[in-house]
């Protein structure tokens, strides 16, 4: 395998696999409508992948030493590809979840073993570690946008189906390299994982789960944007993340990068928790801060966790385990909070909307008729934030009643938007707290001059 081809293939394979930790985020509403499950259940499409990836990462890294890194990377990608096909063809949530677990096992093998191959193509372990971390962070940040685009243009199944040939294409040159691969002796180094850096990675990842997952739900479920519009809105985060890469390279101090990144992520999440109104534009500055923070902190903490430690694959496995355990913990803590808040805000908004309807100056006949249509629309939308526009159609012919109806619709929709926005506030603020908590292990590691 040529050096430059090897670099591209390995980095792209890592990016592809780790994009799967977030790629289905924008498709979740579509999946739960089509497979007829609740929001709380559909979150497991995300959780299952991240949980199995966290559990399988370290054993997979150990296996790389036994089986051979090229062989394991190739085998992992083939398994990932086959499981992606099963995800794309899944007829039920149970099959989808099982396939996601297999996908994560293949992904863990490919990502951890790839780290062992990368120093040979990048020239040094430090450069390889940085490229490996950057590929993973880029994949996770790009995931929601790409997934949203595919969901809108084709279907949620296409998210998985396009990964089948991509993973196989990355596996082919590795299969060739794996032929005749000798079991090489692993370099000596500290076997103990870097506790502080991995703890910080877990906390930051719990916070990032909110940034990647809750923003999308706010846009699609709360503000009722289409997946493509939401994909465009959340593209701010990966774009800023990519733009921040040169900045991350210019600052040598790993502890400063980690701390600055965590502060930016916390600030961005706090901004999302304090949105003054339901406006996509207002989500841009907080997302920008999170995007820049993500690049700074993930690369710094991964570098710290790998520096001076060997074998690289095993310590890389620990960072994957920490990151994805953090994502799982974040989702498990935040999901019940925001679903509970969403339900309570929905009740408040329904009461406020009913009050607006009762106090409106519509004729009693129009009021009753409208009340019935609104109730039917809410019933049709089930436990989701309702889209009430269709209930107000057709508008009355009488100009005065027409103006009154339009004003009422605006007032009720505004109430729903504000309630939906507020329903996510507590979760974003708690996630900001996770990010700030990561400063503690970063400070501990700095005192020990380990970072």
């Amino acid at each position: 395998m040529a050096e430059s081809t090897g670099r591209t293939t390995l980095a792209a394979a890592v990016g592809l696999v780790l994009a799967d930790s977030s790629i289905v985020v924008l498709a979740l509403p579509e999946i739960y409508r089509e497979l007829d499950v609740s929001v709380a259940a559909v979150v497991w499409v995300l959780i299952a992948f991240n949980l199995v990836l966290a559990l399988a990462a370290v054993p997979a890294a150990h296996a790389a030493g036994t089986i051979g890194p090229a062989r394991l990377t190739a085998a992992g990608l083939v398994l990932f590809s086959a499981a992606s096909l099963a995800c794309g063809l899944a007829p039920s949530i149970e099959v989808l979840l099982a396939a996601r677990c297999v996908q994560a096992i293949g992904g863990a093998a490919a990502v951890c073993a790839a780290l062992e191959l990368m120093p040979a193509t990048y020239g040094s372990e430090r450069r390889a570690a940085r490229a490996w971390a950057a590929a993973g962070a880029t994949g996770a940040a790009l995931g929601p946008g790409v997934g949203g685009l595919l969901t809108e243009l084709i279907s949620w199944e296409s998210i998985f189906l396009v990964q089948v040939p991509a993973a196989l294409a990355f596996a082919v040159p590795l299969i060739a390299a794996a032929r005749g691969e000798q079991r090489a002796a692993r370099a000596p180094g500290s076997v103990r994982p870097h506790l502080a850096a991995n703890a910080a990675l877990a906390l930051v990842s719990a916070a990032l789960a909110a940034a990647l997952f809750l923003v999308v739900l706010l846009l699609i479920e709360g503000w009722r944007l289409t997946p493509i519009a939401a994909a465009a809105a959340v593209s701010v985060l990966p774009v800023c993340s990519l733009l921040a890469a040169p900045l991350a390279r210019r600052v040598a101090a790993v502890d400063a990068r980690a701390a600055a990144g965590v502060i930016l992520i916390a600030g961005g999440l706090a901004g999302l928790g304090l949105l003054p109104k339901a406006s996509v534009l207002l989500t841009i500055p907080p997302q920008a801060l999170v995007g820049v923070g993500l690049t700074l902190t993930l690369s710094a903490l991964t570098e710290a966790a790998l520096a001076g430690r060997a074998p690289q694959a095993i310590h890389g496995g620990w960072t994957i385990a920490a990151r994805h355990a953090g994502v799982v913990a974040g989702l498990l803590v935040l999901t019940p909070i925001f679903t509970g808040d969403l339900e309570s805000e929905r009740d408040d908004a329904e009461a406020a909307g009913t009050a607006a309807l009762l106090d409106s100056r519509l004729s009693p006949g129009d009021k009753l008729d409208l009340a019935e249509r609104i109730a039917a629309q809410i019933e049709r939308e089930g436990d989701k934030v309702p889209v009430l526009g269709p209930a107000f159609e057709p508008l009355p012919d009488d100009p005065q009643q027409r103006a009154e109806t339009i004003s009422l619709r605006t007032s009720i929709e505004d109430e729903i938007d504000r309630a939906a926005t507020h329903a996510f506030s507590a979760s974003f603020l708690i996630a900001a707290g996770f990010a700030l908590a990561a400063l503690i292990p970063i400070a501990i590691a700095r005192r020990r001059i380990e970072l």
Partner: protein, 166 residues
């Protein structure tokens, strides 16, 4: 850029965003409060038949909701269909007798409010009170939904009272 500058820059950017959003009203959100149904509610422009009927319905809802210690909005949603009424009664542990008593109390309050706003003559109001005291729940709800006949001249009132009697 040195590490210290990067951390200070991150702190400044985060603080600026949070302060800007707080100043713009982020964190101030409170859901629009629904009015206390037991508090008196002024009738607005009770001159027209349609407007008077609307005010009558709102007063009756207030009175019934106050009696049941629920919001006017929750009761309005509950009274929309027999199914929603049954669900509401089960959720709040209300039996048929209590619901009927609440609807009658609501109609009584609406009559009082209408009389106070000069939308009903005292004589007509007295007649309606006698009827309201024995009003079956379905008739009470029908009256809340459309009381326009009450305000549509004396003939309308008499017909309406006759129609309400069990």
């Amino acid at each position: 850029m040195n590490g210290k500058g990067l951390v200070l820059g991150a702190l400044a950017a985060s603080a600026a965003l949070v302060i800007a959003y707080l100043l713009a009203g982020g964190g101030d959100y409170e859901p629009t409060a629904v009015a206390d149904p037991c508090a008196p509610r002024e009738w607005r422009d009770p001159e027209g038949v349609e407007e008077a009927a609307q005010q009558f319905a709102l007063s009756a809802l207030d009175g019934a909701a106050c009696e049941l210690q629920v919001s006017r909005e929750a009761l309005a949603v509950a009274l929309a269909t027999p199914e929603s009424r049954a669900e509401f009664a089960a959720d709040h542990g209300i039996d048929d007798g209590e619901l009927e008593a609440a609807v009658r109390a609501g109609v009584m309050r609406a009559i009082d409010d209408a009389e106070r706003a000069d939308a009903l003559a005292p004589l007509v109001a007295d007649g309606l009170r006698v009827v309201a005291a024995r009003l079956p729940v379905d008739e009470g709800i029908a009256l809340i939904e459309d009381a326009s006949e009450l305000f549509d001249g004396a003939g309308g009132v008499i017909d309406e009272i006759g129609g309400l009697l069990p």
